[in-house]
């Protein structure tokens, strides 16, 4: 049976209307609702299902970020992960996917994971790079944007969502997998499980423990809202429409 590590990220809640800070240095995060990245939730669900199918013997959930991320970890534990790892980084925004990938790779190693499952992207950064880079750092095979996963303990058959449809691959473990939206419907954490989760162990780490330098390597110059959509114009007839399109250089 395999040991699975699942990465979970705490992000601004999907339903919140994002507001840009007046000075353009970032988005407003204070007093704004946060929750687990929806793709990470799907990753946790997929890992828990592996355990239920008796393919995984243990699931370790890990998160990187400020102390509030312990809530996110707790949700993962309540959904069925066995224990957690929290790498405390006060300023998550300042980290790049590469730094996250280095830490994730180290955790996969120290926790002796055979499978590392992540969401395909986080809805705040939208980078979609972490899973692939982590695999490269570990020198493990990777399968991303998974639509389905069948694991028999040694290797896996996966379907990946690609532009043209679904691509089927076979992949040997250890491997890094990233999940897409349609692979499963995450379960709700019920109260009895939330209670049990409180007793599960969480290891607290610092980036230095993983040998990763978190000094910022990227500076955000400016963040601005997209330009507001302008009102359309109603034209009298098709000729006028063609005229307008030509004027605008569209045709």
């Amino acid at each position: 049976m395999v040991r699975v590590a699942v990465g979970v990220k705490r992000v601004i809640d999907y339903a919140v209307k994002i507001r840009v800070k007046p000075d353009g240095s970032g988005v407003v995060k204070d007093s704004v609702k946060h929750s687990m990245n929806p793709f990470c939730e799907i990753a946790v669900e997929e890992a828990v299902r592996l355990k239920e199918k008796k393919i995984a013997k243990e699931i370790v959930a890990f998160t990187i970020g400020p102390k509030q991320c312990s809530e996110t970890l707790r949700t993962a534990l309540a959904m069925g992960c066995d224990r957690g790892v929290h790498v405390n980084v006060p300023q998550l925004d300042a980290l790049t996917p590469l730094q996250i990938s280095k830490m994730s790779a180290k955790i996969a190693e120290t926790e002796a994971a055979d499978l590392l499952i992540m969401g395909k992207l986080a809805i705040d950064g939208d980078y979609g790079q972490t899973a692939a880079m982590t695999a490269a750092i570990l020198d493990w095979p990777q399968a991303t944007n998974l639509y389905s996963l069948q694991h028999n303990g040694d290797n896996a058959t996966v379907e990946r969502e690609i532009d043209g449809g679904l691509e089927t691959n076979e992949i040997k473990t250890p491997a890094v997998l990233s999940v897409d939206l349609r692979i499963n419907q995450p379960r709700y954490a019920t109260l009895p499980n939330i209670m049990k989760a409180k007793k599960k162990k969480v290891k607290a780490l610092k980036p230095a423990d993983l040998g990763v330098d978190v000094a910022p390597t990227l500076t955000v110059v400016k963040i601005a809202e997209p330009p507001t959509r302008e009102a359309g114009e109603i034209v009298e007839d098709v000729d006028a429409l063609i005229g307008k399109l030509k004027d605008a250089g569209r045709i």
Partner: protein, 495 residues
């Protein structure tokens, strides 16, 4: 339970779309001694609103029939004023010609109060939808009566504020309608009633006089509080054109728990515990019974996040510190799980889940409509007798009805008890009324907790108000609208 064959099922699909019988015929009513609307009158009134009106009974079906499809009027004219001045001109004219008028907002009322009974002119506030001012420091919004609750919330959210009330009809209901019915809703428990949150108002009397009681400051003890006349009087004392409302801070931390409970005694105990343990962060405490869960699944294909149980409770918290709130909620949930008050439950970790689970409570009214005809009751009953009414009615009605369900704002002692049949049945109607109101009266409850009297409950008013109180109401009505042209046949029983 009535057996549902496929014939009945397709009939059910149709019957909720059937045009109801004219109210006047169904209840054998006589038209009041009002002026008839002549063509000249019609033309003049339409000119007062710059053409923004609709003419003809056929065109007005959506406005002549209420959302519940239980009442139907015969109005030939609907006007959509945009300013207070226009409202005043309309009423002045109608008053001079003794023409009756029905004020109408979103037409989401549940007691037939928002549509005509005969040919009253409909004064619809939908175009009076400007938000005039939002003060982010004091949290006060000044808005015209036609502003839709949901839209107000969207605008207020920009300033980290929200309306102090929330109800299932928020996508359509309008401010004037909410205030004139003293609407309650899901969060009354926390933010109080509109009677406390409306700080000022502008209203128009039956004769067209504009009464300015506008005020945007919290405290103003200067003479009689005239605006209170218009709050909850369902458009019978005046038409509200503008109001200032004290808003609540938009909470940054919202939590929702969906809990399964075995018996109503546990719901009561859970409420006491929630009040004690969650304290100031508790913002809503609602319950739905098992028959509601069955209805939601059958009619809307909605399922709860936990297995079905005899009762489900939705608890919501609003606060400014998510860590603090979640800690409190967790400690509370742990203790009520450990002592057996709660048998199972779930906590919504993100807004999407919270929205989905709220639908199980907010879409109850809609899901019942799919059965065909709904006999809807909204009563205040002391908690120690709360669910007894549902079991009593179930026994009384037996096989004659499809469903008898109970749900509602248990935190406010407000029970929504609903009975459904495929189509209107006079026999069932007579089995329910006046029995249900008499039962409520006997336990000193209220025959209408928040929905108001409207058209449907005028003859039961005496079961919740003394003769002297009703006499006072008539005094006030005669003083403010002696010609009785404002929303006649509503609230006060016909003499």
């Amino acid at each position: 339970m009535l057996k549902r064959t496929s014939a009945i099922q397709s009939f059910l699909k149709c019957s909720s779309n059937l045009t109801p019988q004219y109210t006047a015929e169904k209840y054998a009513l006589k038209r009041g001694d009002y002026g008839a609307l002549t063509q000249d009158d019609q033309n003049h009134l339409i000119s007062l609103v710059n053409g923004k009106g609709i003419v003809g009974e056929k065109e007005l079906e959506g406005y002549n029939v209420d959302w519940m499809r239980i009442v139907r009027g015969k109005s030939e004219l609907l006007l959509k004023p945009e300013t207070t001045q226009q409202v005043s001109s309309i009423l002045k004219f109608c008053h001079s010609k003794n023409i009756a008028v029905v004020p109408q907002g979103g037409n989401t009322g549940l007691v037939g109060g928002s549509v005509p009974v005969f040919d009253e002119v409909i004064l619809n506030t939908s175009l009076m939808n400007k938000v005039e001012k939002i003060d982010p420091v004091s949290g006060v919004v000044v808005a015209q009566a036609g502003c839709i609750l949901d839209q107000l919330n969207s605008e207020l959210a920009e300033h980290k504020l929200m309306m102090p009330l929330d109800l299932g009809a928020k996508g359509s209901c309008q401010l004037g309608g909410n205030i004139s019915t003293n609407a309650g809703g899901l969060r009354l428990l926390r933010y109080g009633s509109l009677r406390g949150n409306v700080l000022g108002m502008e209203a128009v009397l039956a004769d067209g006089t504009i009464v300015d009681c506008m005020q945007t400051l919290r405290k103003d003890n200067t003479g009689y509080d005239i605006k209170q006349h218009f709050i909850g009087s369902e458009g019978t004392l005046g038409i509200i054109t503008k109001a200032s409302v004290l808003c609540a801070a938009l909470p940054s931390s919202v939590n929702l728990a969906f809990l399964s409970v075995n018996a109503f005694a546990d719901v009561r105990r859970l409420f006491s515990r929630a009040r004690d343990d969650l304290g100031e962060i508790l913002s809503a405490f609602e319950f739905i019974d098992n028959s509601c869960l069955v209805c939601l699944e059958e009619n809307l294909k909605l399922t709860p996040p936990v297995d079905q149980s005899p009762f489900a409770v939705v608890i919501e918290t609003h606060g400014s510190n998510s860590t603090h709130d979640f800690e409190k909620l967790e400690a509370f949930l742990e203790s009520v799980m450990n002592d057996g008050t709660v048998i199972d439950g779930c906590v919504a970790e993100d807004s999407q889940k919270a929205t989905n689970w709220w639908q199980l409570r907010e879409r109850m009214a809609e899901s019942l409509m799919h059965d065909g005809y709904v006999y809807k009751y909204d009563v205040s009953v002391p908690l120690d007798k709360f669910y007894e009414l549902v079991t009593v009615m179930r026994e009384r009605l037996g096989e004659k009805v499809l469903r008898c369900v109970g749900y509602g704002h248990v935190g406010d002692s407000n029970l929504h008890i609903n009975i459904t049949t495929p189509a209107y049945s006079k026999e069932v109607d007579q089995l329910i009324e006046p029995f249900i109101f008499e039962w409520v009266s006997q336990v000193n409850g209220s025959i209408s907790a928040e929905h108001g009297i409207g058209f449907k409950k005028t003859q039961f008013l005496h079961l919740s108000k003394s003769a002297e109180a009703i006499a006072q109401m008539r005094l006030l009505k005669n003083a403010m609208d002696p010609k009785n042209i404002l929303n006649p046949y509503k609230v006060l029983p016909l003499l």
